[in-house]
């Protein structure tokens, strides 16, 4: 399964919506994912891709990991996999 598909499934599960309703330009807020849900998503991403995500829940904007949209999350994972893989 490609990274994009897996991320969409993780996000959809958190948002409790069908994967078809998650799009690359969706933002966590637009899907109703709160701060705890976001942290849980990051955990699921780390477990799924066996990477360590530099996400700081205190100040998400200043993290070295852009979670502003599904597309940005996918791009971040690809970068981390390249660096850490």
């Amino acid at each position: 399964m490609d990274i994009e598909r897996q991320v969409i499934e993780i996000i959809a599960e958190q948002a409790m919506i069908p994967p078809e309703d998650v799009h690359l330009d969706s933002t966590p807020e637009s899907l109703g994912i709160d701060s705890l849900g976001l942290v849980e998503s990051i955990f699921a991403i780390e477990e799924t891709f066996d990477i360590s995500v530099p996400f700081n829940a205190n100040n998400p904007e200043e993290s070295d990991f852009d979670i502003s949209s599904v597309a940005q999350i996918v791009a971040g994972i690809k970068r981390l996999k390249a660096e850490q893989g």
Partner: protein, 402 residues
């Protein structure tokens, strides 16, 4: 000073998943203790407990809730639903602002700690689920009850080992009596029946391998249980004005500290606690018809507790009944006083005194009417509920029929 009554009760424990079922089991002298069923019991030397079986969390909570709720929180929420629904209260406006939750627990989310220590130490994982802390914290159950029912008043958790829930309920009683809050949700919850939880207790060598037999000469130790008991404590006039069904009155409490030993009980501390509760409630000792004993089934506790009762009550000690329902549901540690309060309510409201089951041999050092093996019908107007914890922290509640 306000009068305080109980207008709702809820529970889940080894005997049943609600109050009517638990009271029926207590009437019938059912033993809820059996083989433990969880991971790695083959590495335990103690393999029995009062475990809650047949509880399916998915029937009560959604996936997101489950990711945040340790088993002890699940027990508390299920029991709170039963209690609050029975009370008929709805929490909005001023009542919501003033009502709070005070719970007791000894181990909190010990199952969460156990699972995650296993993951990082045994399995070598370097990452744990993000909700480990909000799951394991001792106050999690109180927090989730406050959130589920919109209770915005004073809420916290007390932890005094095996007396936790009695300390919690005594504190809630004091809040309602003094006018801090017209209603408080209180009780306790515990879920220590996991590998680490039982392994720790094994170390003390006070656990029975076969049964909990309080006051019986052949008793050989305590048996752990688990579960929750949650109650609605309400100011009497508030309850009366809305026509609530009153289960019984809470009339006084006492807390004492032995200040002597971290595990051995003290007769003097127990005497002062029971006597203090009677004084606090304005009850003459001759009125006491039933004592729900701490009655752990250890040699030391039962002997000491009986001596304390004898010292306080003198010849009236032969006229009252004292039983330990731990023989049926096990020692639910920080929740035990809350589960056992149900036996007091049953005695006061229904006139049925729960038995001490597993009683096989008379012990001259426990020479009281311990209601052996069979429940008894009796008119009881005043009951005491004892909790004497490790570390010598004692809390006794005095209750009266309404």
């Amino acid at each position: 000073m306000h009068r305080v009554v109980i207008t709702g009760a809820g529970t889940i424990n080894a005997l049943a998943s609600n109050v009517p079922g638990t009271m029926q089991a207590m009437r019938d002298g059912v033993c809820g203790i059996g083989p433990l069923d969880f991971r790695d019991t083959d590495r335990l030397s103690i393999r029995i407990g009062g475990q809650v079986h047949g509880f399916t969390p998915e029937n009560h909570f959604n996936r997101q809730q489950l990711s945040l709720y340790d088993r002890f929180t699940q027990f508390a929420l299920v029991a709170a639903r039963e209690a609050i629904v029975q009370s008929g209260l709805t929490f909005d406006d001023e009542l919501a602002m003033r009502t709070g939750v005070i719970l007791g627990t000894a181990g909190g989310g010990i199952g969460t700690s156990d699972d995650n220590y296993r993951a990082v130490y045994e399995e070598g994982k370097n990452r744990v689920h993000p909700f480990v802390v909000p799951r394991l914290m001792n106050s999690a159950a109180a927090s989730h009850i406050s959130m589920e029912w919109n209770l915005q008043g004073p809420s916290f958790t007390v932890s005094t080992a095996c007396a936790s829930s009695n300390h919690a309920m005594a504190q809630a009683f004091a809040f309602v009596r003094s006018g801090v809050s017209p209603v408080m949700i209180t009780g306790g919850s515990e879920s220590m029946l996991c590998f680490g939880g039982v392994k720790a207790w094994e170390g003390l060598r006070v656990m029975s391998r076969d049964a909990c037999r309080p006051f019986s000469a052949n008793r050989n130790g305590m048996v752990q249980g688990e579960g929750a008991g949650i109650f609605v404590f309400e100011e009497y006039e508030h309850a009366k004005a809305r026509g609530a069904d009153i289960l019984c009155e809470v009339s006084g409490f006492s807390m004492t500290s032995d200040a002597s030993d971290i595990v051995m009980p003290s007769r003097d501390g127990a005497v002062r606690a029971m006597r203090g509760a009677l004084q606090n409630a304005g009850i003459d000792r001759s009125e006491v018809g039933y004592i729900n004993a701490h009655g752990t089934g250890t040699a030391a506790n039962d002997r000491t507790e009986c001596a304390a009762v004898r010292e306080i009550f003198g010849s009236h000690a032969d006229a009252l009944m004292i039983s330990s329902t731990k023989s049926m549901h096990g020692h639910a540690i920080g929740a035990t006083g809350a589960v056992e309060l149900l036996a007091c309510i049953m005695a006061l409201r229904d006139g049925v005194v729960a038995p001490t089951i597993g009683h096989e041999q008379h012990d001259p050092e426990c020479d009281l009417d311990v209601v052996p093996n069979e429940a008894r019908e009796a008119r009881v107007t005043v009951a005491l509920s004892n909790a004497f914890a490790f570390g010598g922290m004692n809390a006794v509640l005095a209750l009266r029929a309404v």
